[in-house]
Assembly symmetry: C2
Homo-oligomer: 455 residues x 2
């Protein structure tokens, strides 16, 4: 332990090291409940690539595990410390190095906060789409590590589609450059994409070249109330089948709407079983909004209300973004699922989730990136009640099983971390897990990077 600190100090300024156990303890967890976390030996906050390389060389020399962290807003425990590890927090490497409107790229350090980047590129008439609900806090490095999604994905795709190239410090401290700053490129294997979503298990991202889009017009939102979740899902299928390209297509169930109203007094319609939000960000969205309104009514919507203006649209988005936080107030604890199914199975997924809630006698609120088939069933429970906690865990698992049965995945955007490790093997199968191990071995032969996570 002393040896570790001595080694680290040799290449780091004093302010880059935190050793006070009260402070280091605060770096032990991300935002996932009920995931084990260990006690870090030290927290390091580097400001340069060389400092990160020094940390990794030290870790390799002394065989100390390293847990990379961004803003720790993750929901799967992927950033949780392990005992005796170096927590490597990248939050101080937070410079936007370049924004190019001609090349439509930004070059950033990993600690840049998503919203900070979004606003900076907006000033150049550009748009960085990935928008996890935590966008005001989460970092680009964390977004890359977990391959984050968000509300925009139904039109603009996920983080992975915006990462063109990376600089990565490997487990042994060597620097790797992947990808490119060009629009296209197929030279060699796609190592860039391999790092995206690898949850810090293959290397430490220290720089990223990100693709940008032109800034679209402000989106206009429409809200539709449905008497049943299944009919809302019908509407979603028809909207997509007819070739519409909404900039968001979201669903909040009654439990979620009520929780948001309670938390923020939003005045959302809280007697509806399912509230559907659809938006378009085209120059003239009126035809699309009218067609979507008609499809919603035909599917059984009891009310269809277009937002009057951008402010009202923004309010509806805020409501959707705070859904998970609001559901956390329903009971003392929550477990947040992240099952993504083929869009055509969304109705079956929601009905199945309701059946699970009934079977276990629990409240399970659901909000969903419905256009993508990505549901977040939130199991609400009293963590001081052992039996309820057990039922929560079982229902959480049963929802993942249901997702797999419907041809879906256990994680649409939150990642595996420690929370879904056991389930990953079930989804991937043995052959895939063996190849995962082979790749891990090629990148991190000593197994020092975020050990015990993902698989």
């Amino acid at each position: 332990m002393n040896g570790l600190l001595e080694h680290l100090r040799a290449g780091l300024p004093p302010e880059a090291l935190i050793t006070d156990p009260d402070v280091t303890a605060s770096y032990a967890h991300d935002m996932a409940s009920f995931c084990d976390a260990g006690t870090p030996a030290v927290v390091v906050l580097p400001r340069t690539v060389e400092q990160v390389q020094h940390v990794m060389r030290t870790a390799t020399a002394l065989r100390v595990p390293v847990v990379p962290q961004g803003a720790r807003t993750g929901l799967s425990g992927a950033a949780n410390a392990s005992d005796g590890c170096i927590v490597l927090s990248l939050v101080k490497m937070d410079r936007i190095l370049e924004i190019s409107p001609v090349d439509r790229i930004a070059v950033v350090e990993p600690g840049v906060i998503n919203a900070v980047l979004s606003r900076a590129v907006d000033e150049h008439g550009l748009y960085y789409p990935p928008d996890p609900s935590s966008w005001e806090m989460c970092t680009i490095g964390g977004n890359i590590g977990t391959a984050s999604g968000g509300l925009c994905c139904v039109k603009y795709g996920v983080t992975a589609e915006y990462v063109l190239g990376l600089e990565v410090v490997l487990a042994d401290g060597r620097l790797l450059t992947t990808g490119r700053r060009t629009a296209k490129g197929v030279a060699g294997y796609d190592l860039t994409r391999l790092f995206v979503g690898s949850e810090g298990s293959l290397g430490i991202v220290v720089k990223a070249v990100l693709a940008l889009k032109p800034r679209p017009p402000r989106q206009l939102v429409l809200a539709a109330e449905f008497p049943r979740a299944a009919t809302a899902c019908d509407a979603i299928c028809r909207i997509m089948e007819r070739g519409h390209t909404p900039s968001l297509l979201e669903l909040m169930d009654r439990t979620t709407v009520q929780a948001v109203n309670r938390m923020a007094g939003m005045g959302l319609p809280d007697t509806t079983e399912a509230l559907l939000l659809a938006a378009f960000d085209t120059p003239d969205p009126s035809a699309d909004l009218a067609a979507v309104a008609e499809l919603c009514t035909a599917a059984g919507a009891t009310e269809v209300v277009p937002a009057e203006d951008a402010a009202e649209s923004e309010m509806l988005l805020q409501a959707r973004r705070m859904s998970l936080t609001a559901l956390e107030t329903v009971k003392s604890a929550t477990m947040i699922d992240d099952v993504c199914v083929p869009r055509s199975k969304l109705g079956a997924m929601l009905e199945g989730t309701a059946a699970v809630a009934e079977k276990y006698g629990l409240t399970i609120g659901v909000c969903a990136h419905a256009g993508d088939g990505n549901t977040h069933p939130v199991v609400c429970f009293d963590h001081t009640d052992a039996d309820e906690s057990r039922r929560a865990r079982e229902s959480f698992d049963e929802i993942m099983a249901l997702g797999l049965e419907l041809g879906g995945t256990i994680t649409g955007e939150h990642g595996v971390g420690v929370l879904k490790k056991e389930w990953l093997a079930r989804e991937l199968g043995e052959v895939s897990v063996e190849l995962h191990r082979g790749i891990k071995q090629a990148f991190d032969p000593l197994g020092l990077l975020n050990p015990g996570k993902v698989f």
Copy 2:
């Protein structure tokens, strides 16, 4: 050798095996000139996944290399046979298994021809964007193996962005499933993307889940004539900087225009130094087309002519698509470069290429997916003239060096194959190549899959 055929025959119907040397020889090459090719021991044309598994089990048992092939329209020699290999042609596995307008996916076998899929999904109001110029011949499996681009990429991206999931037969015959049929998913490493562009070196793709888009309106094309390539590049930079989203943005230089006119009597303006084609496929492209016309004129275009209708637009696209073929008729042989640079460096790239042509006293025609910065300088030479051939090879290399200097890549979409193998290491660097080897080792420990290609 007899042992090999005997083994293969045990699990394949007679018509799936070709052993006649006159016929097998015709499978030795793809469309790249001047790449070495060996003599295959046998050509296998499986129709089922099980048959592919049998081939790979046999190859592993007998340590025989396997060269997977689609339609052999590749331009880098990646599908060239090696001596004594099994050529594994996937062209008979050509079924479209599913098209889902609600889920916006297609599930296909690897031998489906790109244009066949495009027309099939079009009937459902859907769109499969990737459109390499060879789209009437090339297969989806080949597109996946080489991560193909095309004209649409400036708006719709490359093949990689449309591959959601794969079934792959590994070197030892085991079947691997990667990815998903959902819109999102982050379970484990992105093995899907690792296979895309791996040029058959990691496994045999036997099924693919592809993402589809809603069919856009027909695009309208505008043609602009420029007195210098550099001013055309200025126009391109301004178009992208102003936030336009053309569905194609292409460039043909004078040599290319003249070659196309000679070949097809297209009547393109052949006194212009650079012909720029821009298109939009939005419901009402008039405002974008007018703005682009204005930007072209401001940048120095001497003529700006919008296509009168869809037919004239299609004619211009045809002209662009036949550019490489037309340039092949300029001299007895060609070497086709595929350098992609940041869009902002496109002018420098074209000027540098002209300087190379002058230095070596050669004709180098250039067509380019200009909006993406992806240039195809085509070195035209007489292959019976040893000195000219040497100069061609040197200028081909110098163009790649220039691309790397400008922050670009040696291959935007054609891949590495054998043609650019030496250059790949130069672009990637040692650390990356070592990781490539580690990955290869994890997937194909005996080195049987397409040996001698890529790296």
